[in-house]
Symmetry: C2
Subunit: 335 residues, 2 copies
DNA sequence: CTGAAAGCGCTTACAG
DNA sequence: CTGAAAGCGCTTACAG
């Protein structure tokens, strides 16, 4: 299906030169003389010529694009924790003229490991120079090594455990949980409920490790809600109710998604527990609840960092791993 | 820079046939006989061959990708109103094996018209079969027509005003404002404050039209915050304060972004006004404030719809325009 | 300073 | 049923 779009040949014809010269002129090769250069530019403008970047990539071997892939579905695009990361990646990439291609599975909800692995291998489709992979801990190591071997630049995003040999932006799950517990303790809480929402990653193990490492004389009641249940209103409600039965003085939760109404109910009742959540700076303050103490992370910055690592990976610099940073944001008064 | 990745030639060599046959086998052409087909498949698997989709696209003329473009910056990717639309588009596209390429400007904040126009023209770079364009009302008509003329399928997303001759998913701004006012009136409010946050689009005009069309015996105090100020905490705070001075019985706002804390302050005080916001169904209930009445829109569904229109546009069906639907979601109790 | 030619990795009539 | 060839729209040594 030949389209109406002018090609480099059309421009060549219109300006009485050959395609090679047009190419050189367009790319700013100093060898083409000013007068022909101008002639070519005018023709290109008149014809509204735009170079076909696929064809160019086929020749040059780099596409100027990176893939963003996540095994667990397009919902991640609207997730208040992840969306700012994507925005950060995309913003940083745009500044270099690099485009972002989304490799999202068609599936709606839960993680399917086989599909995840296939998904990641799509980064080999030649449309991108590499990619940033979320939830890489769910992929088999062979797949990741395979990608590297095939020459795609890969950055692992938000992994809980370190995967040696790769660029990665590591999550601060462990730190955040420890910090939340410390903060609650500082404010006087001794009976503390923790609600952990896992999205198919080994979140709960890591979270628990964080809590233990605080080594504080408090009684902790941990309730996990597993990936498959996250989307079930019932399961979340039951977990919150069960925690509340212990009459906690503080309630720590790792995600306000799917939790909002329950937390509002639990926390805003007079004499209810203090609430500790894990916000993101760039999710904007309006997305946080008044009355919640946030241990927050600059997620946009994390995205920018991932992109910078991607550039390093392209240049085959030695891989490195950096952990996200958190900070405390005191509760906003309720009334 | 030749990479390590095997090409169709390598597979051909390894299975003792020619590239053409490999191509046919891989694409499932029934003319290749079962035994050679199997031989080819095995070789492909063994070499971990993946077809180069750019090269394929160069031949076939379609890329299996669509561009998502927005003139006003990557922040839209994390915006609770738009993010679910992107997710919907991406989800629907994924089911067809169609990938989404993000064309976001590098700019941080405000809309620059010239750049917007350039931005849209990037859909001509040959990497996509067409695109979905947000905030198309900020583009010059010539640009849109140019895209069409060049054979790219275009869908306009969330325009306030109809642009004839194009596929478009129209915003329901006008309806939402009218509905909010009616709802407030039904619940007994007679003194009503309205805060309009415009993101560089002619939002305020449309919103005002919606309010007027309700034709209700209420006194409306409208305060606009313009695009440039949206990111300024000060401007928003001042606007809210100014509205509150009128002692409104209801407060209508079109976006809770940048507003959260101010609204919490205004609305949750005892005897404060009723609050009416414009939520999105798939932004998840946790993103909404307790105590707010929402006139909500299924934004994910809007994204899916945009993708379906994109398919129609590809097939050159006659363009059509559909308006988003809203529904009422009663307030969630605060305590 | 510019042209002619080869090639990037595919697909697809056209022969045989 | 498969091979040989041309071509998609570019780029880039290599000549001249």
């Amino acid at each position: 299906m030949s389209s109406i779009r002018p090609t480099i040949k059309d421009v060549a014809l219109a300006s009485g030169v050959t395609a090679g010269t047009v190419s050189r002129a367009l790319r700013g090769d100093p060898r083409v003389i000013e007068t022909t250069r101008r002639r070519i530019m005018e023709a290109a403008e008149r014809l509204e010529y735009r170079p076909n970047l696929q064809a160019r990539a086929l020749q040059t071997g780099h596409t100027g694009a990176l893939g963003l892939t996540c095994p667990s579905g397009p919902w991640i695009l609207m997730h208040p924790y992840f969306a700012p990361m994507h925005a950060g990646v995309t913003s940083a990439a745009s500044k270099d003229g690099v485009r972002v291609l989304l490799y999202m599975p068609a599936g709606e909800g839960k993680l399917e490991l086989d599909r995840s692995n296939l998904q990641a291998r799509e980064l080999l489709d030649g449309r991108v120079d590499g990619g940033i992979i979320y939830q890489a801990q769910t992929l088999s190591p062979g797949v990741l090594e395979g990608l590297q071997k095939m020459g795609v630049a890969v950055v692992l995003m938000n992994t809980d455990e370190e995967i040696p040999g790769f660029f990665q932006v590591q999550s601060n799950t462990e730190q955040r949980l420890r910090e939340s517990l410390r903060w609650a303790h500082e404010l006087g809480a001794r009976r503390i409920g923790v609600l952990g929402l896992s999205a198919g990653t080994p979140f709960n193990d890591v979270a628990w490790r964080g809590l233990e490492s605080a080594r504080l004389p408090v009684s902790v009641n941990y309730r996990a809600v597993e990936a498959d249940d996250v989307y079930q209103e019932q399961a979340v409600r039951a977990a919150v109710d069960s925690l509340m039965e212990g009459k906690p003085e503080a309630l720590i939760f790792n995600s306000e998604i799917h939790l909002g109404q329950h937390l509002a109910r639990a926390g805003q009742a007079p004499g209810g527990p203090m609430l500790f959540g894990h916000g993101g700076i760039h999710t904007d303050s309006s997305l946080s609840y008044p009355g919640v103490h946030y241990v927050e992370t600059d997620l946009w910055a994390a995205g920018v960092q991932a992109y910078l690592m991607f550039k390093d990976a392209l240049q085959r610099k030695p891989p490195r791993s950096e952990r996200l940073l958190w900070s405390r944001r005191p509760e906003t008064p309720k009334g």
